[in-house]
Amino acid sequence: MKWWLSKPEDPARATSGTSSYEETIQQSVMLSSMQDLLAWGRRNSMWPFHFGLSCCFVEMATSMTPKYDVARFGAEVIRGTPREADVMIIAGTVFIKMAPIIKRLHEQMMEPRWVISMGSCANSGGMFDIYSVVQGVDKFLPVDVYVPGCPPRPDAFMEGLILLAESVGKEKRPLSWTIGEQGVIRPEKIDVKERRQEARSKMTEFRSPDEV
């Protein structure tokens, strides 16, 4: 698939290209497999569930505001009901009193569904190794992406969302329960730490905290 954008003030047909027959066909006919098309649709409109637990939710909500604008990645449509949502963001501490409710809410989400674990508490319990807190939401929910931070900055949350979107775009899911092989084939999970190791080890000079 190949396309380019034109600007509204540009005269019509001022796009690059030769306007040949071949090119025109290329622009108006799209060839893809059904599976890829669906995956492309899924990855570009991930609707999050309006669900928050604690401090992280404030940062998640901040990502929807103009400075960060998560709408750029097709994820601004916050759904109030789990039945309409694609991705559940466990934004905050997973309390033992809340765990059965989180589980039920997750069950109410329709397939395909994904889970982002946002912040240290949801990842592992974080600093709250205390009687009332579950030590990581992955004790009872399958997690697709972990976002570290306490709380993660909105940028970090958005990066997690993009990571998930990339993975969703590569997922292979059966088109129906009667067509093809059943079961979901997911791409391998990426270790961002490893991927960035090289670039990070080159960082040797840092700005002093004594200056703004």
Binding site: G80, I101, K139
Partner: protein, 582 residues
């Protein structure tokens, strides 16, 4: 405190010479031990009969005394119940203590004396297993109903990792969900009246209008609220138990997360108590830096409230403007502290580092920028006729009702009472600043909004004064108990090197004693009541948060309104769940 003079004499004249045993504490609050058969009489006397009475039950909590090493001059008790009362006329607190020797004591309930004692007593029951005789509904409040044990007892494990791996089987989900089933009879609610059947509507714990994991069950007659039962505890992070194993220094980041919109303001509340214990006087520069950051956070917190409140009543765009302005505050906070929501930047005896070069310009830019925006928001929100229709005359309470329910902060000031701890009991140098206490008259949701908006302007005034009058000097006190410990002499002799090493690795040892702080936080009076047993971590730490009593008042102020009004009332209350459940 001179305002507290004469109280002991009056109490002794009424109840006998030997009834009360005074205790000296580091915070100089009059502290009296009293026998448990006189609790109700003494408290009733203090609330109504004594001249210049104590009308506000500020806090009610308990301590498990069984593992104490240092006694406080009294026979060893197993448990102590502690009452904190506040007198507005005297402008002072009084602390009353009752000791018990039983493992599971029973105490006279004072829920008939103060409306807000109800939840405090339920909390003490939930956390300590102490029963209250005459309490109308003594049940768990923070922990799940299926919980075994009482977490703040010393024998209860603190860590989740001590309690075995967590598993959530389907049976367990069903069991927990069944325990959450609401039975109106348990709460003394009728299912029908003479002419109609009531509907019970469950809101939360997952609901966009509750601002977090809060559950409210409404008893409805048509659309009118007959009664409401808030169910809290879904956000309980065991902050008080956590303090008992953290060092005095490493507990600081936990305080950030109590009122998670208040940021360093929580650090301040904790440090005011710890510094009283340690006897640290902080330098002037520290005071002003602390005040400046606290006021910036007050604006940030009020901005979140402003936006979400407007959203609650149907205005979808203001929240986008206000979060953008909040980002501008975070730009300053980030430049100074390196963090955003939880900077954890104050230290015992000072702050983490000096202000960076160029901070003045950042703050000045914000001071120039923000008033115009506030004016725009007045037009956008406060003058909007729909906003007025949704908030005026809704959720009214009077000054007397507010005091009865333990309401503090902007919610109290909206009833026309200019009580602000920054002015009345100045701390951290607030007495040096020139600012007004905004009040309103009607005590409805709209007035609560007016007060908070006016407070943002006052906070900005304070920030401006900080900018213009920032004193020079050290950013940390020269005191052996400050953290991290001072290093200047460590390389000169072995003694100071050892002390420094211990101060860094174990943390400072606070002298045995107790102290309470009370600050005007973003949402109301926030206080830390810390007890030291002469150890590297607190023996007991109690966090008095403003949102807890505010939420307790909800049933009282929602009766007779509609479901839509409930959301206005919740929005105007300005609470965060971490501040309620801790």
């Amino acid at each position: 405190m001179e305002n507290g003079s004469g109280i002991l004499e009056q109490l002794q004249a009424r109840f006998g010479e030997d009834t009360f045993k005074p205790q000296t504490t580091q915070d100089e609050i009059l502290t009296l031990w009293m026998p448990h058969d006189k609790i109700k009489d003494v408290l009733a006397f203090l609330k109504t009969e004594i001249p210049q009475p104590f009308p506000l039950l500020y806090d009610l909590t308990a301590t498990d005394e069984r593992t104490r090493k240092h006694e406080n001059g009294h026979a060893p008790f197993a448990f102590t119940i502690i009452y904190h009362l506040l007198s507005f006329e005297r402008n002072c607190f009084i602390r009353l203590k009752v000791g018990f020797r039983d493992e599971f004591p029973t105490v006279q309930s004072i829920s008939s004396l103060w409306a807000n004692a109800n939840w405090y007593e339920r909390e003490v029951y939930d956390m300590f297993g102490i029963r209250f005789e005459g309490h109308p509904h003594l049940s768990r409040i923070l922990m799940p109903r299926t919980w075994v044990g009482h977490p703040l007892r010393k024998e209860h494990p603190a860590r989740a990792t001590e309690m075995g791996p967590f598993a959530l089987y389907d049976d367990k989900v069903d069991l927990e969900q069944a325990a959450l089933q609401f039975k109106p009879e348990e709460w003394g609610l009728a299912r029908q009246s003479e002419d109609s059947d009531f509907m019970f509507l469950n809101i939360g714990p997952q609901h966009p209008g509750t601002h977090g994991v809060l559950r409210i069950i409404l008893q409805l007659d048509g659309e009118d609220i007959v009664d409401a039962i808030p169910d809290i505890g879904f956000h309980h992070r065991g902050q008080e138990k956590m303090a008992e194993r953290q060092s005095w220094h490493t507990y600081l980041p936990y305080t950030d997360r109590v009122d998670y919109l208040g940021g360093v303001m929580n650090n301040l509340a904790y440090l005011m108590a710890v510094e009283k214990l340690a006897g640290i006087q902080v330098p002037e520069r520290v005071k002003v830096i602390r005040v400046m950051l606290c006021e910036l956070f007050r604006i940030a917190s009020h901005l979140v409230w402003y936006g979400t409140f407007a959203q609650d009543v149907g205005q979808l765009s203001p929240v986008f403007y206000m979060f953008t302005d909040r980002e501008r505050i975070f730009d300053i906070v980030e430049a100074i502290t390196g963090g955003r929501m939880h900077p954890n930047w104050f230290r015992i005896g000072g702050v983490a580092q000096d202000l960076p070069k160029g901070w003045e310009k950042l703050v000045q830019t914000f001071i120039d920028y923000f008033p115009k925006r506030l004016k725009e928001y007045d037009n956008m929100v406060l003058k909007n006729s729909l906003f007025k229709a949704r908030t005026k005359g809704i959720g009214i309470f009077t000054k007397e009702e507010a005091i009865e329910w333990g309401v503090t902060g902007p919610n109290l000031r909206a009833c026309g009472f200019d009580w602000d701890f920054r002015k009345k009991q100045p701390y951290s140098g607030y007495e040096l600043f020139d600012f007004d206490i905004p009040t309103a008259a009607n005590g409805d949701c709209y007035d609560r909004a007016l007060v908070r908006v006016a407070e943002m302007r006052q906070s900005l005034r304070i920030v401006e004064q900080c900018l213009k009058n920032m004193p020079e000097g050290p950013y940390k006190a020269d005191h052996p108990l400050t953290t991290p410990p001072i290093k200047k002499n460590t390389m000169h002799d072995i003694e100071t090197l050892i002390t420094h090493f211990l101060g860094v690795s174990w943390g400072p040892v606070m002298p045995a004693g107790e102290a309470m702080s009370c600050i005007e936080a973003t949402k109301g009076a926030n206080g830390y009541y810390v007890t030291s047993d002469g150890n590297t971590s607190p023996y007991r730490l109690r966090i008095r948060t403003p949102s807890f009593p505010h939420m307790q008042m909800l049933p009282y102020i929602t009766k007779g309104y509609t479901v839509a009004d409930l959301l206005s009332i919740l929005g105007a209350m300005d609470y965060v769940l971490a501040d309620i459940d801790r």
